[in-house]
């Protein structure tokens, strides 16, 4: 083997190692990626497809990931872009956002639902079923849902969410605010009807 061949062989081996390491790290995050995907789209099947597409693209373009940066955010950026590409943004979207209620709307409604103010806040929250939370999330406008899912379920910082969605941080904050209110309003509607 010539000198050049040996160098080339070492280069290829090193690259294979880098790639395998990248793939391992990405797969280690699959559970968290799925968690976000599942709440962004309407069904488990769609979420599975979306995660598979995300990993297919991530593995193909692994070289564009900068080692040492936030891989979870990098994967989620691919995922949210794919989600938009596939037109899921308009899925299950109510055409108009109902009138916004205040932050305390749900708390006030639930607390007095039994006719009398309840003192234990854990008990108040337990009046909501887990299903009602999942349904309410699915019903809020996609642009608000994205942010609520990333920050409140995916545990991303505002800065990460801004980077993932390619919007200014102020937009993340205002969408989050409105998204949480919309969620509470949906929950109030579900719980009290």
């Amino acid at each position: 083997m010539s000198e050049t061949d040996a160098t080339e062989a070492r280069r290829i081996a090193a690259e294979a190692r880098d790639r395998a390491r990248f793939e391992e790290e990405a797969l280690g995050l699959a559970d968290q990626v799925y968690r976000v995907a599942r709440r962004l789209v309407g069904s488990r099947e769609e979420a599975e497809d979306l995660v598979q597409e995300t990993y297919a693209r991530a593995f193909r373009s692994w070289r564009s990931f900068t080692p040492g940066t936030n891989m979870r955010a990098w994967l989620l950026r691919i995922l949210t872009n794919l989600n938009v590409d596939r037109g899921r943004r308009i899925q299950r979207t109510p055409q108009t956002q109902p009138l916004e209620e205040s932050d305390y709307y749900l708390a006030n409604k639930l607390a007095t639902a039994g006719g009398e103010e309840v003192l234990d806040q854990d008990q108040v929250v337990e009046r909501l079923s887990q299903d009602s939370i999942v349904n309410a999330l699915a019903e809020i406008q996609p642009q608000f849902r994205e942010v609520v899912v990333l920050v409140d379920i995916g545990d991303f910082t505002y800065a990460d969410a801004a980077q993932i969605l390619d919007v200014p941080i102020g937009t993340v904050m205002s969408r989050l605010h409105r998204g949480r209110r919309a969620l509470k309003q949906k929950l109030a509607e579900e719980a009290l009807t």
Partner: protein
Amino acid sequence: MSREPCDACEELLQDFLDRTLTNDEWAQAESHLSDCDYCRRRYRFEETLRRYVKLSAVERMPPGLMEKLQQLRGFEADGLAPR
């Protein structure tokens, strides 16, 4: 405690939970919370709700998905960078 100042607290509470208040605002909020039963209950509610939303919304990966992802490994790089 009168209701009126607490309408302003409603806005502050979300930032309090997000830990995005300045030190001064934080101190004010804490001192108010220790005095105001209404706000304290709303604080407990919002905090509990956030935890409950997270717990309710989390769904584990379906069985078999990890294997499918494993099979995607080793695809030739095609030079397409994610957008």
